[in-house]
């Protein structure tokens, strides 16, 4: 178990390092001159240029730049935004909470709902409700998340006027305490619903197919032959075995979810990292962009390691290898 966890952590660190290096090289090899962008198109003052190069460390050789960037990142310093001249750390931490609230609530709801629906349909395989849900899940899988967000926005915000469609809280009302929490929850409904609809189908399908598969295993037939009640067989034996692929899926889907969250944040003006990314793209603010990407990758890796450990706890075959 210990060996397994250490291996996973090593693998996670390697992933982050590969991504980090790739990002660095990409940004360095990109066409265009960041100093020129900073100075503005018209000015070409060599003194200013030298000063700016000095400030951003661009006058040093590439490997030194890399090492100092890496060293700072390990210390937790992601550098300074070119456009805002502010610490990237500050900019990210201001927005991290909003993204975590949206992402985590969507992840939990879609995991629970998708798994429950999968179990429900597996026990009614081939029924009308099963075919309807399977078809719907096929369709939501094919939808661009942002498009679904826009459609839900038209229906629930514009036409029905039921839910707020922009932002995370009512700026003008300035609620505090419980009223504020409720207000945020109210604003959360649409973006969260969109994400749940998009990501749920994966859990639904994997749960259903893995339950159907486990149900046909020999050991389930053995249990039936002993006269064990179906309920007990399902709750203890089928469920425990069928949940394993669903846990794996949970780990894999986090990367996908983070992408989805960013796009949905942009649709609903949710003040999280997705919108920060968009502004950084538009301004060609590479330090911010790299910082955001690094934070996202670290989160993905951390979640992946956690799910791997959970998996190992659930599956003795891995624990003892």
């Amino acid at each position: 178990m210990k060996k397994y966890v250490i291996r996973r952590i090593f693998s996670g660190i390697l992933t982050i390092l590969v991504v980090f290096t790739m990002n660095f090289l990409l940004v360095k090899s990109a066409p265009g001159d960041p100093i020129k962008t900073l100075m503005g198109k018209e000015t070409d003052d060599p003194v200013l240029r030298a000063a700016l190069e000095e400030k951003w460390g661009l006058n040093k050789p590439l490997h030194e730049q890399y090492l100092s960037y890496l060293g700072n990142a390990i210390k937790g310093d992601l550098g300074t935004s070119i456009t805002y001249n502010r610490s990237v750390n500050d900019m990210i931490s201001e927005r991290l909470m909003a993204t975590v609230i949206l992402g985590l609530s969507a992840l939990l709801i879609s995991f629970l709902l998708g798994t429950a629906m999968g179990i429900f349909c597996a026990r009614r395989d081939g029924s009308l409700i099963d075919s309807v849900l399977s078809t719907v899940s096929y369709a939501t899988d094919a939808m661009p998340s942002f498009w679904l967000g826009l459609m839900l926005m038209i229906i629930f915000a514009t036409k029905l006027n039921l839910l707020p469609s922009q932002g995370m809280y009512n700026v003008r009302a300035g609620y505090t305490g419980w009223r504020y929490v409720l207000d945020v929850a109210h604003h959360l409904v649409l973006p969260c619903m969109t994400l749940v609809l998009i990501t749920m189908s994966g859990y639904f399908r994997i749960t259903k197919s893995s339950i159907l598969q486990v149900t046909n295993e020999d050991f389930i037939t053995t249990m039936r032959a002993t006269g064990m009640p179906e309920k007990k067989i399902f709750n203890k034996y089928i469920f425990r075995n069928a949940i394993l692929p669903t846990v794996t899926m949970l780990g894999i889907s986090v990367a996908f979810l983070i992408t989805g969250v960013s796009l949905i944040e942009i649709v609903f003006s949710w003040p999280g990292m997705g919108r920060l990314t968009l502004t950084a793209i538009n301004q060609r603010d590479y330090p911010t962009l790299m910082g955001v990407y690094l934070v996202m990758n670290v989160s993905v890796v951390v979640v992946m390691i956690i799910t791997d450990i959970v998996y190992a706890l659930l599956d003795p075959r891995i624990r003892y290898d």
């Binding site: 693998s11 390697l14 992933t15 590969v18 991504v19 790739m22 990002n23 990409l26 940004v27 990109a30 066409p31 096929y138 369709a139 899988d141 094919a142 939808m143 661009p144 998340s145 942002f146 498009w147 679904l148 826009l150 459609m151 926005m153 038209i154 514009t158 894999i252 990367a255 996908f256 983070i258 992408t259 960013s262 796009l263 942009i266 649709v267 990314t277 968009l278 793209i281 538009n282 060609r284 590479y286 962009l289 790299m290 955001v292 990407y293 996202m296 990758n297 993905v300 890796v301 992946m304």
Partner: protein, 282 residues
């Protein structure tokens, strides 16, 4: 040749998803070929009616803020989507086959490095990488296609690696090695052609992914302004969403239909080509 034809025919007959997928794809190609006939207007023409509702002034699905005919834009958008889907997934398929095949077949240290690399790419949110590259190197449609291809090979490589791992233990491969064929010959002659089928199915499903990725990039304003793409139509329509819902709604539906066609094709191919699904007896 005739045998191949018969096989295809019986595969089509046996799998409904494959049938729907093939018919759908054929229709999409027909739309590309006869695009100028099917389109009611010139999609690049900025007409006088801006934001006309569907049906108004002969605009089947309305117009956008520039007065371009939405239906005609959708028709021309098929071309962009198919181009992105096919080019990107070809790149990702070929890369996956080579990388995964080499890892699984050669084994040892090569495989350690390759499987670690596959894991890294499976794990990271590739969309952000794509986004970063496109924003750095420009959003020309060719760039977009290549970048999508270069970053999405990992699932293909994983499949191919597993195939190569199991194939190299098979008797016909072992006997080829015993007969003195070089490693490279064996890889090219036996491993790749026999292990390719699951990858083909996965690549087809990857085409759907490429279309969605292109749409997402366009939605972030990272689309190629010189081509008509459904993602960009959604992006532009977003600003007028409360008054002119049709721009966004119809272009999204076009994306969904196309993506479903590729899903059907991929799943159908998987049923037909993947040895795991084609069962004999009980």
């Amino acid at each position: 040749m005739k045998r191949f034809f018969n096989k295809t025919l019986s595969a089509l007959r046996s799998d409904a998803q494959l049938r729907v997928g093939v018919i759908g794809l054929a229709l999409l190609f027909l739309i590309v070929i006869f695009g100028s006939v099917i389109a009611t207007h010139d999609p690049y023409f900025y007409g006088p009616d801006s934001l006309a509702a569907p049906g108004q002034n002969g605009h089947l699905l309305g117009t956008n803020h520039m007065g371009q005919d939405v239906f005609s834009m959708l028709v021309y958008g098929v071309r962009t989507s198919l181009m992105v889907a096919i080019t990107a997934s070809m790149i990702s398929g070929v890369l996956g086959i080579i990388i995964g095949g080499a890892g699984g077949y050669f084994g040892g240290k090569v495989d350690v490095v390759i499987s670690e690399l596959i894991n890294v790419f499976l794990l990271i949110p590739t969309f952000f990488l794509i986004m970063l590259i496109v924003s750095l190197f420009g959003s020309d449609i060719r760039n977009v296609m290549i970048v999508i291809g270069l970053t999405t090979w990992s699932s293909n490589a994983k499949l191919m690696r597993a195939q190569a791992l199991s194939l190299r233990e098979r008797t016909f491969v072992k006997s080829a090695i015993a007969l003195g064929e070089t490693k490279l010959q064996v890889l090219v002659k036996y491993i790749l052609p026999n292990g390719i089928f699951p990858v083909v199915a996965n690549t087809t499903r990857g085409m759907a992914g490429a279309i969605l990725t292109e749409a997402s990039l366009s939605f972030l304003g990272l689309g190629d302004p010189n081509v008509i793409s459904w993602g960009q139509m959604i992006y532009q329509g977003k600003q007028y969403i409360t008054t002119a819902w049709w721009i966004t709604a119809f272009s999204g539906i076009a994306v969904i239909i196309t993506v479903i066609i590729f899903y059907m094709l991929g799943d159908g191919l998987n049923h037909v080509l993947n040895p795991k699904y084609s069962q004999g007896g009980k």
